[in-house]
């Protein structure tokens, strides 16, 4: 990031090579629109070039911050297509201590996250995927699935607890 701040284009290209695939995947998963996903992907890296100081290394890892931004941008675009679904999401501060700065670390963590999700009961996995990849709230998920609101809240909370345990173990193993 220091090299990018010094206007080193090769540093930006290297950063793109490292994280573009990861960000492109989540953007396509949320938007299901390749062109829109690529526009946001390009814009994220261009914004990083224009304003590298927006990333504060003291508050977490760069890939974690990029993933938060990518997800928020995609959900924002998704909701812009359907204004009745809600307002814009903000790019709030995000801290991630996991190590995914190398391709090997990425693959290892991807395996852990996918494993943790697959280990969830189907209803919990479906609920958390609707929340994360489609930006739905409790009541929106309940409306989509037809389940009672309380049930949805319980499923999501249980899913989050399970994921935290799995990802905490991953973070601990990387420290």
């Amino acid at each position: 990031m220091e090299r990018i701040a010094q206007r080193d284009q090769t540093a930006l290209a290297a950063l793109y090579d490292r994280y573009a695939g990861m960000l492109s995947s989540v953007l396509n998963r949320i938007l299901r629109d390749t062109q829109a996903a690529e526009e946001i992907l390009q814009d994220i890296f261009f914004q990083l070039w224009r304003n590298p100081s927006r990333f504060d290394a003291a508050r977490g890892s760069l890939p974690g911050w990029l993933m938060v931004i990518a997800r928020n941008r995609a959900i924002s675009r998704l909701r812009h297509r359907n204004p009745a679904a809600g307002g814009e999401l903000s790019e709030a501060a995000a801290v991630s201590t996991v190590n995914i700065e190398t391709a090997a670390a990425q693959q290892q963590l991807i395996g852990r996250v996918k494993g943790a999700l697959e280990n969830l009961p189907a209803e919990q996995r479906a609920a958390i995927e609707l929340a994360y990849f489609e930006g739905m709230s409790h009541s929106e998920i309940a409306q989509r699935t037809g389940d009672p609101l309380g049930t949805v809240k319980t499923r999501l909370r249980s899913a989050v607890e399970s994921l935290k345990r799995a990802l905490h173990a991953q973070a601990a193993s990387n420290r």
């Binding site: 284009q9 695939g21 396509n28 261009f46 974690g64 991630s96 996918k114 999501l156 990802l167």
Partner: protein, 269 residues
């Protein structure tokens, strides 16, 4: 400050965007006042963001990187013009707004420059007009001088020619006194008069005649001498004329087609 969230998972649920209504408002109110919980929320955001890794892998097309780097190069060069993102559009709009031809510093430079250009053009146009007049005048002078040179060369040739004959004109008794001579060259068809004679009486002029061997006298010039100054001129003679004599007569002012007055000077060829 309202109470801390009772369960840690509330931060994760908020980060997911699942909370709504009072639950969401409670978190937002609290983290605005509690730095510790704000940090917990940031950690929850980072944690939930890892769910992105569960998305099926989709590599972006190579065109994205190419466009990005072109955009970066253009940005570095201060000319953002490539790409399709809103950022580019805004940059382009900004540049279009700032690119009016007569805006800002360009006006400060171009208006005085154009004024100077107009003044310089007008000055140069006038200079060109004056130069053209002078060139035309010089051209006339050259032509006059050329004609003079031709006349002088002809005079020299005339005077040096062996065919040129000089005839002295003698004054006649009882007439104004004077002396003159005529040089002529029938081959060249030229005649030259040079003489000094008393001024003509009022309303009178002198007139030189070529009296050929055959035919009527031929007018060879009308003149009004000024005291103390000689008269001289050259003229062409009609071709084929063989002079027999030359005479100066006193005629009414302006001359006559044929001699009518007394002979003042006479010379035989």
């Amino acid at each position: 400050m309202n109470a801390h969230p009772t369960r840690e998972e509330d931060f994760d649920l908020y980060a997911l965007g699942a909370l709504e209504g009072d639950e969401k408002q409670a978190i937002e109110t609290h983290i605005a006042q509690c730095a510790d919980c704000a940090h917990k929320l940031a950690a929850a955001r980072g944690r939930m963001a890892l769910l992105s890794l569960a998305a099926p892998r989709v590599e972006p097309s190579s065109a994205v990187k190419r466009r990005l780097l072109a955009q970066v190069r253009a940005d570095t060069e201060g000319d953002v013009r490539i790409g399709t993102s809103p950022v580019n559009s805004r940059a382009m709009q900004s540049r279009v707004r700032g690119s009016g031809f007569f805006t800002g510093w360009r006006t400060a430079i171009l208006v005085p420059a154009l004024t100077v250009l107009v003044i310089a053009t007008a000055w140069l146009w006038n200079q060109n007009r004056l130069l053209n007049i002078e060139v035309a005048h010089l051209g006339d002078m050259v032509k006059t001088q050329q004609r003079g040179l031709v006349a002088m060369r002809d005079a020299v040739d005339f005077m040096e020619s062996h065919d040129t004959v000089t005839v002295a004109l003698a004054p006649q008794p009882g007439q104004p006194q004077g002396a003159a001579h005529v040089m002529y060259n029938t081959k060249m068809g030229m005649l030259m008069y040079e003489g000094e004679i008393a001024p003509a009486p009022a309303a009178k002029s002198y007139e030189l005649w070529v009296i050929p061997t055959d035919g009527k006298p031929i007018n060879a010039g009308v003149f009004n001498p000024v005291t103390g100054r000689a008269d001289h001129w050259m003229m062409k003679m009609p071709p084929g004329v063989a002079p027999r004599m030359f005479a100066v007569t006193l005629e009414p002012q302006g001359g006559m087609p044929q001699p009518t007055g007394p002979m003042i000077l006479i010379g035989h060829a």
